[in-house]
């Protein structure tokens, strides 16, 4: 009697534990499912390569139109309406907010509309390309196309016209090219700053530091404490120290990429030091002794033998750091700012991908689709990096077990 009760209780506990431990898996799947559902529709090459801010072009066509008749290319489907007189095709598309607009789906490379004079800047020209939106056209025969006009009507009106008094087009915008470039800049700059400092510190602490020295123990403790500092506090450090610092020594005025990279460098420093230290720790003393017994100095031993064996560990540190840089938001909001830019200049503000998400979510109307699309990119990179690090670690522990 007592036994069967115990068994039932055991079974109940086992069930509860098994179900609870599925929560982690469930959450990860839920996060992925959500961002994919929201963002995958938006994820395209165009999103990665286009500017965030739409540019509007105001042009006209006053030359004599030639006799050339353009053919509609066979790869265009029926939704594209083609003007054979001007060599241009239109279709209907939806923008990031879900509104429909008239898209220039195709423009022939010899079309007279390809290069047009800029109405606002005398002497400048404007290039009309595919994926621009057509906002408004006024022809010389005073017919007008508005963007609400269907593409079929627009193509017909183009075919009927001989000249254009005014044509307004706009690029699509909402792209994340600038934020991708900023993120890459931040990764490179941060690693350039943090990697040598971190690796050399780890070498000092493990190979050169006098043993049992109080001061070294204090240094070690202070570095360890960095690990527990929340990233927003690093952001305050960036705002209080690195922004004034860069403003003094560069053309910067306020938050900039360099102050951001310096802040990130402090954030990834403990990662690099710990990871390098772990790698140095497991290198067998045999190597050091064999090298010293050959008459090599400690410096030669460290940089020629020891460091070489620590390279996989340092590589893991780099990958983990890159993951941290890509994911970091709170610190950068303080250390750089939240202004999305298309032209990336080191001494000015711009956003990394993570802060880009913050910028478009923090406003009155959060853009879930774009935020999710960027989240997919961030998640993919971070997860792949983590899996590589795990792979390296497994391989290393396997090798150290077999040798």
């Amino acid at each position: 009697m007592k036994h069967s009760k115990r068994r039932r209780l055991d079974f109940l506990f086992q069930g509860v534990i098994t179900i609870t431990s599925m929560i982690g898996l469930f959450l990860l799947i839920a996060i992925f499912a959500y961002v994919f559902k929201q963002g995958s529709g938006l994820l395209s090459w165009d999103l990665l390569t286009s500017d965030y801010y739409a540019t509007t072009y105001d042009t006209y066509y006053s030359d004599q139109l030639g006799d050339e008749v353009f053919e509609k290319p066979s790869h265009l489907d029926e939704s594209v309406y083609f003007s054979s007189k001007w060599g241009i095709g239109f279709s209907t598309a939806l923008d990031n907010e879900g509104k429909s607009y008239m898209l220039i789906a195709y423009i022939d490379s010899n079309s007279p509309l390809r290069i047009l004079p800029d109405k606002n800047n005398e002497g400048e020209v404007v290039e009309i390309t595919e994926n621009q939106a057509l906002l408004k056209v006024i022809f010389t025969n005073y017919t007008i196309i508005m963007s609400s006009e269907g593409p079929e009507n627009a193509a017909n009106l183009f075919d009927a016209a001989d000249g254009i008094i005014d044509m307004i087009t706009t690029t699509s915008g909402k792209g994340i090219r600038g934020s991708i470039i900023t993120t890459l800049y931040l990764i490179i700059l941060t690693l350039i700053i943090a990697l040598p400092i971190g690796v050399l510190s780890a070498i000092y602490l493990r190979e050169f530091a006098p043993k049992k020295s109080k001061i070294v123990e204090i240094l070690r403790r202070l570095i360890e404490m960095l690990t527990g500092v929340p990233s927003i506090i690093f952001g305050l450090l960036g705002a209080a120290v690195f922004i004034p610092f860069t403003s003094t020594f560069t053309a910067a005025d306020g938050g900039n990429l360099i102050s951001g990279a310096l802040t990130l460098a402090v954030i990834v420093l403990p990662v690099i030091i710990t990871s390098t230290d772990e790698a140095l720790k497991v290198i067998p003393d045999d190597f050091r002794q064999a090298s010293l017994a050959l008459g090599a100095t400690k410096t030669q031993t460290t940089f020629k033998v020891v460091l070489k064996s620590a390279i996989p560990g340092i590589l893991s540190a780099v990958l983990l750091s890159v993951g941290r840089i890509i994911g970091e938001s709170a610190a950068l909001i303080y250390a750089i700012g939240t202004a999305i830019k298309d032209q990336i200049i080191l001494t000015e503000r711009s956003t990394s991908l993570a802060v880009h998400i913050w910028s478009i979510m923090a406003g009155e109307t959060p853009n879930f689709e774009l935020a999710s699309a960027i989240s997919i990119i961030i998640l993919a990179v971070v997860l792949v990096l983590n899996l590589i690090v795990k792979f390296i670690a497994n391989k290393l522990s396997y090798e150290s077990r077999t040798s």
Binding site: A290, A293, L294, G295, A296, K304
Partner: protein, 253 residues
């Protein structure tokens, strides 16, 4: 025949912290001979070996008193250049420990650390070292391969070649065959016989047959003390001390 001594050890006492590991050691190591140090584990034979090229310096709170003279210079003199000593007194360790680099780079490592950059000289040094360590024929076509791809016995001969590449005068060997199989061991022993024509060899070994086979002189240690030191044939045929006899007849150890 008068023999020349490379090492002269007088009143050597060595402590690890408060624990004394060597007591009043006095012995000479003759040139171009093989001297074997034997004794049970923890008897101080490896410690003595390591005090000959000052590898004990690497151990914290290791303290040395007494005199160790190498070619009449006190190597524990505070102005004595340890690095230079180690280029002249090479060492081979218990476990084969090639560096994680190519076979060539392993052997060229020592000379490179001494500033030898010339490619031709390095090629010559590497080739000589490999020939002299009887490894050349086995690896001559794969010098660029990782040294870790060699078998255990080959790795240990590579480590000997690495030591030879420095053209040392003495080679210290710390149980060089204890991690190897009998065939690889035989090859190393053969090599030691070959090497003693040019080098003075001091070898620590656990294996008494090995000491009997390859050495000219044998020193027996017990609990940090040098019990007996004599010609190998004498030690093994008619030891003068009871402890030595007990040990070599296998009564303890």
């Amino acid at each position: 025949m008068k023999t020349e001594n490379v090492f002269q050890i007088t009143n050597l006492n060595l402590h690890y912290g408060t624990k004394q590991a060597l007591f009043d050691i006095a012995m000479e190591i003759p040139k171009n001979q093989v001297t074997a140090l034997i004794g049970p584990s923890g008897c101080g034979k490896s410690t003595l070996l390591r005090s000959l090229n000052r590898m004990n310096d690497l151990i914290d709170n290791c303290h040395v008193d007494g005199l160790v003279q190498y070619e009449n210079d006190d190597i524990y003199d505070k102005n004595y250049d340890v690095i230079n000593l180690r280029t002249r007194v090479g060492m081979v360790f218990q476990k084969p420990n090639p560096f994680p680099m190519s076979i060539f780079d392993n052997i060229a490592y020592g000379p490179r650390c001494q500033g030898v950059k010339d490619k031709k000289t390095l090629n010559e040094i590497v080739k000589n070292a490999l020939v002299n360590s009887a490894l050349y024929d086995e690896v001559k076509d794969r010098l660029k391969e990782a040294a870790t791809s060699l078998s255990g016995g080959q790795q240990q001969r590579l480590c000997i070649a690495r030591a030879i590449a420095m053209s040392p005068e003495v080679i210290l060997m710390d149980e060089p065959t204890s991690a190897l199989d009998p065939i690889a061991t035989a090859k190393i022993e053969e090599l030691i016989q070959e090497l003693k024509k040019d080098y003075t060899i001091v070898i620590v070994t656990h294996n008494m047959q090995q000491a009997a086979r390859i050495s000219d002189n044998t020193a027996f240690f017990l609990m940090g003390e040098l019990i007996e030191y004599d010609k190998t044939d004498l030690i093994f045929s008619q030891p003068s001390k009871k402890q030595t006899e007990d040990y070599i007849t296998g009564r303890f150890g």
